[in-house]
């Protein structure tokens, strides 16, 4: 190893490689920050570019994009409560409250420094422990992955403590939605409601764009605020955050980075699970878990260090075994193979030069990310000084192009719109969109691994119980899952004890007047969804049917429970009625933006993307204008700037195709 390190360092200092690292980082951060463009896509788009480079430079650049994009996702998570990539869902939990409290710069700085820290920890493991860790990763087969996914899902309980049943049912709904498409066990269409294109299923990204971005747009438009959030810059924020991270957050940082690296190593499980698990573990072991979700540094640090830790982890099995640990690693593997480079343990000897240059470049990229990120943060916080209406309209545009770009399919745009309205409704009735996203992400993995276990159990001399329980890792994961499910009760117990010690009567939190209605509505909604899916059940067979049936039964029970809860709350309001905690909502503006967005999606295939976008931007900016001045100048300016920016980034820089129209191309 040591004989390769010095020459590798030499390669790294070549001007071309430094330029590629910087460009890759900056491009990656932008891709990551835009909702809809994910790390996977960013890297995939640049693979053809690497064909013209030598293998090492190509790999260095792809690695830089990967790191940049995973970090970049946190920017939109903090600033507009929209995870830029699925890996930063957990970042919204504390990043967005921080931003709302006027501390956007602290949130962004925390995510930058924690990302860099997590990335370095992951790379450290990649450099020194790749071979033994790859062997450990292989121990995760069907049963282990099944329990890991359930462990991930159990975090919903911790995540939404106080609101656990709604969290669980939201997760269940997400899993149910994820069953739409091709049945993984018999490869026939399932829950397509007679509409063939639904066979491609509900992709995670468009659903998430809907649940987070578009629903956020509706929320913002409906709020009577002029700007997204107040912004009070903290002087010397870099030093303050750095001290805080290395001081009271160091345990959280280290633990989350290691969780990230480990989860990253497992084939199939990536940043989206790692960040949630890390966030929950931080919350669980904290002395005051109730602070989580109110906008604390630890929350952002946990999620962001974990998802960047994933990168080093995901590269371990990719380089040593040819098995990618994440979707992005799979794309990088493809680029490697196209260059004729064979992965394997020999990669560190036969092509040691390349391997070590790549690994060292990961260290360099994570360090370079700090200055690049600092520069971009300055630009990004400017977003908060743009009028909210314009930002919201802009997000709709990005959501449309982002969801289209995933599979170049207008269906995905409609899926995003649908989930946007759904997400808005869920937020109003306090169903948990985060849990729903987690269900959509983890659902297919749960089902797939469940199916594998059932197949494995068919071998003579083995049984379902044996397959599911016969490995120490599985048992450990079951234990962790149970612990996780108990946590809300333990937390509640601790809270009551603390209250008793302080001499206060243990009293449930006051319920608001509208609370019973929310429970009722969510219960009825859940039952409606279950009924709709139930009508399609007769088409299914085998494991696919049983799995769907199980989910439906769970959801129906929860729905009934929520309805009963609603009745109970109405008749016996616990803790007295508190009122006035509801923000006023401008329903007319919400309705306008919904109609405008739907019209936009509808005319896009006719007019083509740019004319439709210009029309949408201009008209909605005029109609939704909330200033006293003339709306026309601002609307035209917005239209011009947005269209130009989108054209530059998507068409010129990235070469992402935009929807074609019948009239204009």
């Amino acid at each position: 190893m040591s004989e390769f390190l010095l020459p590798a360092l030499g390669h790294l200092c070549e001007p071309l490689n430094i330029v590629l690292m910087l460009a890759g980082l900056a491009g990656g951060i932008i891709i990551g920050a835009l909702p809809g463009l994910t790390a996977t896509m960013g890297v995939a788009l640049m693979v053809p570019v690497t064909f013209a480079m030598d293998a090492t430079s190509g790999l260095v650049m792809l690695g830089a994009i990967y790191v940049g994009a995973i970090y970049g996702g946190s920017n939109s998570a903090c600033l507009i409560c929209t995870p830029g990539t699925p890996s930063s869902v957990a970042t919204t939990f504390d990043g967005w409250p921080m931003c709302q409290a006027g501390k956007a710069d602290r949130a962004l700085m925390t995510s930058l420094l924690s990302s860099s820290f997590g990335g370095i920890v992951g790379t450290f493991f990649l450099l020194f422990l790749a071979a033994p860790l790859a062997r450990v990763a292989l121990k995760f087969g069907g049963p282990e992955n099944f329990w890991l996914c359930l462990f991930g899902l159990s975090s919903i309980a911790v995540m939404s403590s106080g609101n656990m049943f709604k969290g669980l049912v939201s997760g269940g709904l997400g899993m149910l939605v994820a069953t739409i498409g091709l049945d993984p066990h018999v490869a026939t269409p399932r829950f397509t409601f007679g509409y063939y294109p639904l066979i491609q299923g509900v992709e995670v990204i468009p659903a998430m764009i809907g649940l987070f971005s578009i629903s956020q747009v509706l929320y913002l438009i409906g709020s009577y605020k002029p700007f997204i959030a107040q912004y009070n810059p903290t002087p010397g924020v870099f030093g303050i955050v750095a001290r805080e991270l290395l001081g009271k957050c160091k345990t959280v940082l280290l633990r989350s980075s290691i969780i990230g690296t480990f989860v990253g190593m497992l084939p199939g499980a990536g940043g989206e699970i790692a960040s949630i698990i890390a966030y929950n573990e931080s919350k669980r072991w904290d002395k005051q878990p109730d602070r989580y979700g109110t906008g604390i540094t630890e929350g952002v640090a946990a999620s962001e260090s974990a998802n960047n830790g994933v990168i080093g982890g995901a590269l371990i099995p990719m380089l040593t075994l040819g098995i990618p640990g994440s979707a992005v690693a799979a794309v990088i593997l493809g680029a490697l193979l196209a260059k004729g480079i064979q992965p394997g343990f020999k990669v560190f000897t036969v092509t040691g030069d390349l391997a070590y240059t790549f690994i060292l470049s990961q260290f360099a990229v994570n360090l370079l990310m700090i200055p690049v990120g600092l520069l971009l943060i300055r630009l990004l916080v400017r977003l908060l000084s743009i009028r909210l209406t314009f930002v919201a309209i802009g997000i709709v545009l990005l959501s449309v192009i982002g969801s289209y770009a995933i599979r170049n399919s207008m269906l995905d745009v409609w899926i995003a719109m649908f989930f946007g309205i759904l997400g808005y409704f869920c937020n109003r009735v306090k169903l948990d969109t985060g849990a729903m996203a987690l269900g959509i992400i983890l659902g297919p993995m749960v089902e797939e691994n469940f199916g594998k276990c059932v197949s494995l159990a068919k071998a003579p001399g083995s049984s379902v119980m044996q397959v599911f329980l016969d490995s120490p890792i599985a048992v450990a994961l079951i234990f962790l899952t149970l612990l996780s499910l108990c946590t809300p009760f333990l937390m509640d117990l601790r809270r009551r004890r603390a209250a008793a010690e302080a001499g206060l009567p243990a009293r449930p939190a006051p319920t608001s007047r509208a609370d019973w209605l929310k429970d009722m509505l969510s219960g009825l909604f859940v039952l409606l969804v279950a009924a709709v899916f139930f009508t399609q059940l007769h088409e299914l067979e085998d494991v696919g049917r049983n799995y769907a049936l199980l989910l439906l039964a769970f959801i129906t029970l929860m729905g009934i429970w929520l309805c009963l809860q609603g009745f109970r709350k109405r008749r016996f309001p616990a803790g007295g009625l508190a009122s006035g905690d509801e923000e006023p909502v401008a329903m007319r503006r919400v309705a306008i933006i919904v109609a405008a967005s739907a019209a936009y999606a509808a005319i896009t295939p006719v007019l083509g993307f740019y004319p439709a976008s210009a029309l949408f931007l201009c008209l909605s900016a005029v109609v939704l204008n909330d200033t006293d001045g003339s709306p026309y100048v601002a609307a035209c300016l917005l239209t011009l700037i947005m269209c130009l920016a989108v054209w530059l980034v998507f068409a010129v820089l990235l070469g992402v195709p935009t929807p074609e129209g019948m009239l204009f191309q």
Binding site: V47, A187, I199, G322, I323, V331, S409, G451, A459
Partner: protein, 315 residues
């Protein structure tokens, strides 16, 4: 007023038509759209990108515009090709037997006859693979062990309803191959499961197996003849098992493009496939190149259709 408007409109439409007429000069006189039914950066994309390099060499005046339409194991993209405008300016890559199986078993929106076949470019044979430390050292040992211990052997397949599944059904029919089958979502998962010991053996594509060759022992190829990538590995036929199975990549246009355009495409693709530099690039990328002309490919598709109909009907 209204009438005048429509007259103007009709006139405008006529003018556009006339303006478009002389455009039919020499094919191709505008960029050709290439639909890839899998994600960018995937194996199908990499292969098409190599083709593109040589298309630019032989047809420098017009480029390819790549459009990715992934989803449902390729079915979405294949459907897009079948339904594309039949002007010769939309072509695409397909995978065989995926396309045939989808057409027959998944209510897909296309049939085998919905395409004009340009040519086949890759023939990626299936391999029988075990872990390097496995006690089983040959295909014969594997099949004998399976027969002596029904159900004991766990065999991993990508699927269901895939090329791997088809080969498995064939093996079961011809040899009696009583094993426990486990399906995986993709080759990466399947490789991981074999290396981790969850399964004892697997049927996998050469191209995918090559990634983890250090850890695996390829027992045999389900091909007519040995492959340059692994010249020491015997074929199943050599060992007395009549099992052939492969995944092929080909390029197609929607059925009914102008005959001259199809001829031009077939001619150009043939030139590319014979180019020694192209073959070298394919070898570096681990893509087992095998050219087959459009007519021969169509014949293969039709025989496959019968085979698949029988295999999955009796399942």
């Amino acid at each position: 007023m209204k009438q005048r408007f429509f007259t103007t409109l009709a006139l405008a439409a006529l003018l556009t038509l006339i303006a478009a007429m002389p455009a039919q000069a020499v094919y191709p006189d505008k960029p050709v759209t290439m639909i890839i039914a899998f994600t960018a950066g995937g194996s199908s994309d990499v292969q098409a990108r190599i083709m593109e390099k040589y298309w630019n060499k032989y047809v420098p005046q017009q480029k390819w515009v790549f459009v990715y339409k992934p989803g449902a194991g390729g079915a979405i993209g294949f459907g897009e090709i079948a339904m594309a405008r039949k002007d010769g300016y939309t072509i695409g890559g397909i995978n065989i037997p995926h396309l045939v199986i989808q057409a027959l078993t998944q209510k897909a929106q296309f049939k085998v006859d919905d395409f004009d076949y340009i040519c086949q470019v890759v023939n990626d044979p299936q391999c029988v693979v075990v872990r390097k430390d496995s006690k089983i050292k040959s295909a014969k040992e594997l099949f004998d062990y399976a027969k002596a211990n029904p159900g004991k052997l766990k065999v991993g397949l990508v699927g269901p309803n895939s090329g791997h599944h088809l080969m498995y059904l064939d093996a079961r029919k011809k040899l009696g191959f009583p094993v426990t089958e486990v399906f995986y979502k993709g080759a990466a998962d399947q490789n991981a499961a074999l290396l981790g010991g969850e399964i004892d053996a697997m049927f996998g594509n050469l191209n995918d197996v090559m990634r983890s060759l250090e850890e695996m022992n390829v027992l045999a190829l389900a091909a007519e003849k040995r492959n340059d990538f692994l010249p020491k590995v015997p074929t199943l036929k050599e060992q007395g098992y009549n099992i052939l199975s492969d995944i092929r990549r080909a390029f197609v246009a929607p059925k009914g493009i102008p005959a001259a355009d199809l001829a031009f495409l077939r001619e150009t693709f043939k030139k590319i496939c014979m180019d020694p530099d192209y073959l070298k690039d394919m070898k570096t990328a681990g893509q087992p190149a095998e050219y087959l002309d459009g007519a021969a490919l169509l014949k293969h598709m039709q025989s496959l259709e019968t085979e698949i109909r029988n295999a999955f009907a009796k399942k």
